[in-house]
């Protein structure tokens, strides 16, 4: 009873938090005076897309304990289904010019347009309905293929399952690049000109944007999907998934149908990965099979690991951190002339961040060693590396240097992958472990209450 009440408060807090964030995004998008192509917007959009895919992967890897690496393949299925069904029919000849037009000569928003009208409010309704239906169909296609592939491969053990799903994603990629399917998939070329996020900006009769919604839409869709996944995790199905993760044999003995629940988790994860793929196609403005490589799956897997395997809020936080770092905050590492003046804000930000990262990382590693009682020379290594880095830091501040050594194209990703390796090796539980944000907040509140009660008792 108590347990139930607590989780309900957590859910309410989570919902309110999500709603406030979404409102904030609308307000900021319409009031901030940034150019429309600013990197903040692309971080928000890509973060929304990736967080949905990361949570869907976490449902499978973290909550059901099935180590699958097929996410990019399911995203591809979703992206192509969405793109094929929504390219407007008058653009089809241009998009499929190599194949003399498309085999499918309608788009879903036009089908709805026949019902609701193609302009004004009717046009908006048919656009929204068409896009939504295409997205859901994308998810369903992905889930159907997941069911097909799941029949044979879900019986396999952990690492064989990983490699089989990885192989499946590669097969899908090859099939979609096949020229013989050109009239449908456009062969190795990309499909373009389908509605993307900026089509959701509300314009007035002159074509001027009245209300920007292009960042809100992906965030909203991703939030709804993630809420659905969380509801699933908290249901009896979710408890069965967790039981399978903890111990398959014990779960089976408790009467859980292993095959059925594994298949369910696999298909639902694929469904949301498919929806995420459709969102990714909208984000990128094109659907192209060569993008959905195994590297994309690895990227999402690393996000899940950084956030904490088995934590939904961890995955979401890690996604936005990951996307923001790789697209935005670490950008300056890619240019040889990183800063333009010694007092530039980004340079000061870098100085602070560098010190915090080095000192904080070193302290954490040293504490870890002392707690585990590992040999002393490990601590010495940490001391030496930290001292060298901080010596460079002092030199960097004093001389007012404007360049970072080694920085040129590609350095950002090297630094980034080193950070990931440090997380994987030393902070294996990730940001959140298997806790949720609401758990952490609840614990903090409890601790505060205890402290307050203690003070009152003293008086």
């Amino acid at each position: 009873m108590l347990q139930e009440k607590k989780s309900r408060t957590g859910a309410v807090v989570g919902l309110i938090f999500a709603a406030v964030m979404l409102l904030l995004v609308i307000v900021l998008e319409n009031t901030l005076d940034l150019p429309s192509g600013h990197v903040l917007y692309s971080v928000l959009k890509k973060g929304a897309v990736y967080s949905l895919v990361a949570v869907s992967m976490n449902l499978l890897n973290g909550f059901t304990g099935l180590f699958s690496l097929g996410q990019a393949g399911f995203m591809l299925l979703g992206a192509y289904t969405y793109a094929i069904l929504t390219v407007p029919s008058d653009a089809r000849d241009a998009v499929y010019y190599l194949f003399g037009g498309s085999a499918i000569n309608f788009s879903l928003q036009e089908v709805f347009g026949a019902l609701f009208g193609n302009s004004g409010a009717g046009g908006a309704v048919s656009l929204v309905l068409g896009v939504l239906l295409a997205m859901i169909l994308g998810g369903l296609v992905a889930a159907f293929f997941a069911w097909l592939i799941g029949l044979p491969v879900l019986r396999l053990r952990s690492d064989y399952l990983a490699i089989a799903t990885l192989g499946f994603a590669e097969i899908i990629r090859a099939v979609f690049q096949w020229q013989a399917l050109g009239p449908i998939t456009n062969g190795a070329n990309m499909i373009i000109r389908f509605p993307n996020f900026s089509n959701f900006n509300i314009t007035n009769a002159d074509g001027e944007v009245v209300l920007y919604l292009s960042s809100f839409v992906p965030l909203f869709i991703a939030t709804v999907c993630i809420i659905l996944i969380v509801m699933l995790i908290n249901s009896s199905y979710g408890r069965a998934f967790k039981a399978i993760r903890e111990d398959e044999i014990a779960a089976e003995a408790m009467g859980i149908n292993l095959a059925k629940h594994k298949m369910l988790s696999f298909c639902i994860s694929a469904f949301f990965a498919g929806v995420g793929g459709a969102l990714f196609a909208m984000f990128a403005g094109n659907a192209q099979a060569m993008v959905y490589t195994s590297n994309m799956t690895y990227e999402i897997l690393l996000i899940v690991v950084i956030g904490g395997i088995g934590s939904v809020s961890g995955s979401v936080i890690a996604t936005f951190l990951y996307v923001a770092c790789s697209e935005w905050w670490l950008r300056f590492l890619d240019s040889t002339q990183a800063f333009s003046s010694p007092t530039e804000p980004t340079r000061i930000f870098f100085i602070v961040l560098f010190a915090v990262a080095v000192v904080g990382g070193a302290l954490m590693l040293i504490r870890r060693r002392r707690r585990k009682g590992e040999p002393f020379w490990k601590e010495v290594i940490v001391w030496v590396i930290a001292a060298v880095l901080m010596a460079w830091w002092v030199w960097f501040i004093v001389t007012g240097a404007l360049t970072i050594p080694f920085a040129r194209t590609g350095f950002r990703m090297v630094v980034f992958s080193i950070i990931i390796m440090i997380v994987v090796l030393f902070f294996r539980r990730g940001i959140m472990g298997d806790k949720e944000l609401t758990d952490v907040m609840a614990r903090l509140a409890k601790r505060r209450a205890v402290r307050k009660a203690g003070k009152e008792a003293e008086q």
């Binding site: 592939i149 044979p152 690492d159 490699i163 096949w178 195994s294 090297v414």
Partner: protein
């Protein structure tokens, strides 16, 4: 006829190159139960090292130097990225392997500036020879023989020496062999060293037939070699070699098939084969039947 011979010959040659990579996978998997996702990237790194070394020193120095550096790289990866996770769940080690692969690819992109690098011509290997009317390079002819020599040497090592016996023991039962006084860290390091050595040799043969090395050049051969190892029965070295030859030959036959878009399916074929094998006979051709203990 000439065409058929040249297709077969290049199939055997590619198969031999896959075999050299596959041995690294199968040995590591046999001992650690780990799919070493970074192995394909070690193979790529060996190619890049060869390019940079041969630019600054004569070939007879660069060749062994590249091999030694690759071995050091493989050894270091095991010590830094896998050893601390020995008691962790298997999934963590696999994630660490994926992280290493990501790091190696990004470092390669940084070092090369993202440009495809020209592989140096090794005299003797790239010259053309005529066999049965088909014109092929020497490397195509040499590869299968070199592979057979190396594999025979390796099986001798594993079956006749003390280190080999330790390896077999560790592969059989990790904990018990530890109790019997086998230094498992040494054994695992040796497996990584042999694997990297063969990958370095394989990369020399492989990249001689390809004009460029790119940062992602190792990923696909790596995955295919792993499939070969699974096909032959993971843990079994002769199995991996035979699996690799079969995959290499099939791949070249598919590439030569006269239907539109056949080259698209070269990579896909390997994975179809993988799924078929995993479903029909998960232990592979020569794998030992393992029973899951409760």
């Amino acid at each position: 006829m000439d065409y058929a011979i040249s297709v077969l010959l290049s199939g055997v040659s590619v198969g031999g190159q896959y075999a050299l990579i596959a041995i690294g996978y199968t040995m590591v998997y046999g001992i650690l139960r780990l799919i070493n996702f970074a192995h394909g990237d070690v193979f790529m790194a060996a190619g890049l090292m060869m390019i940079y070394l041969s630019a600054s020193m004569p070939l007879y120095v660069a060749l062994p130097a590249a091999i030694i550096l690759t071995v050091v790289l493989g050894f270091a990866i095991e010590r830094v990225a896998y050893k601390p996770l020995r008691s962790a769940p298997r999934m963590s080690v696999m994630i660490s392997a994926i992280g290493v692969s990501y790091l190696l690819q990004n470092t390669a992109t940084y070092v090369t500036g993202g440009q495809p690098m020209n592989y140096p011509t090794i005299p003797g290997l790239s010259s053309v020879v005529e066999i049965g009317g088909a014109r092929v390079t020497w490397v195509t002819v040499i590869t299968p023989f070199l592979v057979i020599v190396l594999v025979v040497a390796l099986t001798q090592l594993i079956n006749q020496t003390k280190v080999g016996m330790a390896m077999r023991a560790v592969a059989k039962d990790f904990e018990t062999s530890q109790l019997m006084g086998i230094k498992i860290n040494t054994v695992i390091s040796i497996a990584f060293i042999i694997g990297s050595l063969l990958a370095a040799v394989g990369s020399m043969l492989y990249f001689t037939n390809y004009p460029y090395v790119t940062p992602t050049a190792g990923a696909m051969p790596g995955l295919k070699a792993f499939v070969a190892a699974v096909f032959g029965g993971i843990g079994s070295i002769p199995g991996a070699v035979i699996g690799a030859f079969i995959i290499g030959i099939c791949e070249n036959i598919i590439k030569a098939l006269p239907f539109d878009g056949a080259t698209n399916f070269v990579d896909a074929f390997t994975f179809v084969l993988l799924i078929v094998i995993l479903v029909a006979k998960p232990t592979g051709l020569f794998g030992e039947k393992a029973t899951d203990k409760v």
